[in-house]
């Protein structure tokens, strides 16, 4: 054979399997390949061509093509478990590797899928509340699984034949008893599934594991298959549970039910209102059962109210349960009176058909989580030989729960943490007084450490490890233990213990640091000119340098000292000694502080009164005289003051006229118009806070009232103007009188003019009104008010015809919009109008 042909053939032989194997491997899920590494057979789902068919034999299968012909393709070692035809064409089977290869090669096989195992949802909710961790605990050699406790389930009954629920009814069975109150017989078998689902969450023990898998059940069937019942049936169930509590060791009642009216749950925002509501006595009966020692849990309801919960959960002695999903998102009813949260979304549990399971959601599912938790806590109390109240159980679940924030209600609620609650019951609760927190730094004095220890079975002993300090006294009351310690400097690690009556021991460890603050022993300032230690006052002139030398000591092990110098709480230096130059504007009394601290922030502070005196006073130069007849006259005198040491200056002024002011920066303002002509002296004073210096100047005023006439102006011209200085100028008294009279006349005239103007305005208003009326009649705008624009639109100003026309236009636009909406696929249609037996409405869409 041709050599080249041989080479090509060899290459193809090598490549083709790689290509085809890659293509074929696309048919098979990788998990199948992986599982065959450890298993001989694997569960698979085979997806066939939609037209293919199969003949199923025992341990083999024949796959037929679209013509339903078989070509000797019987595949051995295929144990078919399910055949699918409606949702897909294929089958599920247990196969070995050989069968897998043959399936892979069959052209009628499209895919071979791995038969994934879906986690049963109860397996998610049980770990979420840490119930599985509790199951791993033992107390006095007993597993904490609810053994010895019985939960009374008031519901649709229980499928006691289900393997996970014991498989039987009566003595020796998980379902130890019950009654069918709804049908008035003795067989409480479930005919719906709800009760079996609830029972499984609380106590299932088989394929799925409930919260308290070893707890027993009582089935109180008060519902029929329609899951609706009356108060009398529920009451009968509660009554039976209480009456038979001792015989069957019933410690818990669980009620996954809610009071409804008109299809909606009745919501209560307070327990008092709930207790007072006339519901046929169910809340009262439930409260009574709790008061008699039975823990009663009830569903909060599902309507999604964020301010309240349903009944009977709202009862004052009843523990209400709301729902969360696996990510602790809150659903269903909640509010300030909700007690607890538990998983209540997509919970898988036992069902009313034997060996079946179902997924359900609602606070019905959350409630039995709490019932199971209560059973476990009751078991702990029984093992410890103590009696606990239902309130103690509720408090433990609340206080030890994981707080879940709910934005919708603005509140947080505890989602049960059964492990934390169990530990709370098992071990003493030992805490130390809050004023001595772990890591505290204490002075080396005598300190009393106070501890509080409590336990449901009482505290037996309290003790501490040996500590290298002088414990000179220890004493206690029934709940508090006191340890008096005379501390020495340094770090101290202390452990304190308490045990209960069955020697469950709790301990708490404290790490405390004992340290004293550094001390400022003495100081010297300005090269010894200042006296040390006892003098707290320092004086210095502005712009001078302040020098303070200090002696600071810290004799204990924590002696890494930091320094902080402050003037008026502003830090100026962080070195041990202070060398600081005062500024020019620092005149006055200040507070100088030195704060010294060690590495544990133990600190001391020394304060001084720091008086800074002025260097020099301000000096005036001559303020020039001036003239004015202005209404808004101003004069800045600050340009004539010499402030050599840059102190902050203040100004005052005196003048015989009113309404003249001087600002903080020396600007004088006033009104010289219409004043009698003459010279006006203004006295000013500048002060730097230490020294005040006066000065003055003159303002000469001519008679220059701004509302005067020419004759008045002529009179002014005849007079002499003002002179300079305080003693200069002439003053014509006659002229002043004339001017005054004229001024009075002018004022009179002015008032008349004002009256005339007022009258004129009124006339104008009338004119405007008239004009408006004219507009209405003459229709100045093309379309009535529309033509004037929206800002000028006045519907009431339109004529009758104009109003009709405008209305038709508006209605036409609205109709067009409605018509457009009618043609949308909204479920809600437009408006409707009732006329007796007929109704006008948009036509039904066909």
């Amino acid at each position: 054979m041709n050599k080249k042909l041989l080479i090509i053939l060899a290459v193809l032989i090598i490549l083709i399997p790689q290509v085809t194997s890659n293509d074929l491997s696309d048919k098979i899920d990788s998990e199948i390949i992986e599982e065959f590494k450890t298993e001989d057979t694997v569960s698979v789902i085979v997806v066939l061509d939609e037209n293919a068919g199969i003949d199923i034999n025992e341990q083999s299968v024949e796959i037929k093509d679209a013509d339903w012909k078989t070509f000797d393709n019987e595949i051995e070692a295929v144990d078919v478990t399910y055949e699918y035809s409606a949702v897909m064409n294929g089958f599920a089977a247990e196969v070995n590797e050989q069968a897998l290869e043959e399936l892979e090669q069959d052209e009628n096989v499209e895919k071979i899928l791995y038969d994934h195992i879906y986690e049963l949802a109860l397996d998610t909710s049980v770990p979420l509340v840490s119930a599985d961790d509790v199951h791993a605990l033992q107390l006095n050699g007993v597993d904490l699984t609810g053994a010895g406790q019985t939960i009374c389930v008031i519901d649709t009954g229980i499928n006691y034949n289900h393997a996970d629920l014991g498989g039987c009814l009566g003595d020796g069975c998980k379902v130890v008893g019950g009654q069918d109150i709804y049908n008035n017989d003795m067989d409480p078998v479930d005919d719906h599934g709800h009760g079996s689902h609830v029972a499984g969450i609380a106590t299932a023990n088989g394929t799925i594991t409930g919260i308290a898998p070893d707890a027993n059940l009582i089935a109180m069937k008060v519902f029929g298959a329609d899951r609706s019942t009356g108060a009398s049936q529920v009451l009968a169930g509660i009554d039976w549970c209480v009456n038979n509590a001792t015989e069957f060791n019933i410690s818990v009642i669980t009620m996954s039910l809610s009071l409804v009216s008109g299809g909606s749950e009745i919501i209560f925002t307070s327990s008092s209102a709930c207790d007072a509501y006339s519901d046929g006595g169910v809340v009262n009966a439930s409260n009574s059962a709790a008061a008699q020692g039975l823990f009663v849990s009830a569903a909060a309801g599902n309507d999604g109210d964020t301010t309240g919960i349903g009944s009977p959960a709202c009862g004052s002695n009843i523990t209400s349960v709301g729902g969360v999903d696996d990510s602790d998102t809150v659903y269903y009813n909640r509010g300030s009176i909700l007690d607890l949260l538990a998983p209540g979304v997509t919970i898988n549990s036992t069902y009313y058909t034997n060996s079946d399971y179902a997924q359900m959601s609602g606070t019905s599912m959350a409630t039995p989580h709490v019932a199971g938790a209560a059973a476990i806590l009751n078991q702990i109390a029984t093992i410890e030989g103590v009696t606990i109240t239902t309130q103690q159980i509720e408090d433990a679940l609340k206080e030890q729960g994981d707080l879940i924030a709910d934005a919708s209600s603005g509140l947080s609620y505890p989602r049960i943490n059964i492990l934390a609650a169990a530990n709370y019951f098992i071990y003493p609760n030992l805490t130390y007084s809050e004023n001595i927190a772990d890591g505290s730094v204490l002075e080396p004095n005598t300190t009393t450490l106070t501890f509080t220890a409590t336990d449901i079975s009482g505290i037996n002993t309290f003790w501490y490890n040996s500590i290298a300090v002088n414990v000179y006294d220890a004493y206690n009351t029934s709940t508090n233990w006191f340890v008096d310690v005379n501390w020495t400097a340094g770090e101290h690690n202390l452990t304190f213990y308490a045990n209960d009556s069955i020697n469950n021991i709790a301990n708490t460890t404290l790490t405390l640091f004992v340290d004293s603050a550094p001390t400022i022993d003495d100081w010297v300032w300005n090269n010894g000119t200042g006296v040390s230690t006892t003098l707290a006052n320092i004086t210095i002139i502005e712009n001078d340098t302040l020098t303070i030398l200090v002696n600071v000591s810290d004799s204990d092990v924590y002696n890494n000292i930091s320094y902080s110098w402050l003037i008026d709480d502003v830090e100026i230096n962080t070195t041990e000694d202070l060398i600081y130059t005062m500024g020019l504007q620092s005149v006055g009394i200040h507070t100088l502080s030195l704060n010294v601290s060690d590495e544990l922030n133990q600190s001391s502070t020394q304060n001084w009164n720091l008086t800074v005196s002025d260097v020099s006073a301000p000096v005036w130069s001559v303020i020039p005289n001036t003239t004015s007849d202005e209404t808004d006259w101003s004069y800045d005198v600050s340009t004539y003051i010499n402030n050599y040491d840059e102190d902050t200056l203040s100004y005052t002024m005196s003048i015989s006229l009113s309404d003249f002011t001087i600002s903080s920066v020396g600007l004088i303002e006033g009104d010289f118009s219409c004043l009698t002509s003459g010279n006006y002296t203004i006295n000013v004073t500048a002060s730097d806070g230490t020294t005040s210096v006066p000065s003055d100047f003159v303002v000469a005023v001519a008679d220059s009232c701004t509302s005067g006439d020419d004759e008045d102006d002529d009179d002014d011209d005849e007079g002499s103007g003002g002179g300079g200085g305080s003693s200069g100028g002439t003053f014509d008294e006659d002229e002043e009188e004339t001017t005054t009279e004229e001024t009075v006349e002018e004022n009179t005239t002015t008032e008349e003019e004002v009256e005339a103007e007022t009258s004129s305005e009124e006339t104008t208003d009338e004119t405007v009104s008239t004009e408006e009326t004219t507009d209405e009649n003459t229709s100045d705008y093309p379309l009535g008010a529309f033509g004037a624009g929206l800002g000028e639109f006045d519907f009431s100003a339109l004529s009758g015809n104009q109003k009709t026309a405008s209305s038709i236009v508006v209605i036409g636009i609205v109709c067009a919009v409605c018509f457009g909406l009618l043609n949308n696929n909204h479920k809600k249609k437009g408006f409707k109008i009732n006329f007796g037996n007929f109704t006008l409405s948009p036509a039904k869409k066909k």
Binding site: D155, T156, H194, H197, F223, D226, R227, S228, T229, G230, A231, Q233, V234, S256, L257, S258, L259, V260, S261, G262, G263, S264, I266, D279, G280, V282, A299, G301, N302, D303, G304, G310, Y331, Y332, M360, S361, G362, T363, S364, M365, T367, G812, C815, A816, C818, F819, L822, K827, K828, K829, K832, N834, F835, F838, T839, L840, S841, P842, A843, K844
Partner: protein
């Protein structure tokens, strides 16, 4: 096309719209207890796990009952559906 013809056609279309939009609708084929004019007329029928709606005027009395507290599929539990008035008939609007 002549402007008058255009105006006439537009007017005719508008008139047809008015007639279609506002023609009376016969409700005689709707059961009396389901007739409504607004959503407020309609309430769930029955107390527990309702699956239908009814005009509130036809509820003889507002009874109270105890119901199991699960979100039953196919019912209006847990916000899965609500009552509305659609084409003058009380119906359930289901949440997808």
């Amino acid at each position: 096309m002549d402007s008058k013809v255009i105006a006439a056609v537009a007017g005719a279309i508008g008139l047809v719209f008015v007639i279609i939009a506002f023609r009376p609708v016969d409700v005689s084929n709707i059961p009396e207890h389901l007739i409504c004019s607004s959503d407020a007329d309609c309430v769930p029928e029955g107390d527990c796990h309702p699956t239908s709606c009814i005009n509130r005027d036809f509820i003889v009395r507002y009874s109270e009952a105890f119901c199991t507290a699960e979100c039953a599929p196919g019912t209006m539990d847990c916000g899965q559906g609500s009552c509305i008035c659609h084409d003058n008939e009380c119906v359930v609007m289901w949440v997808e």
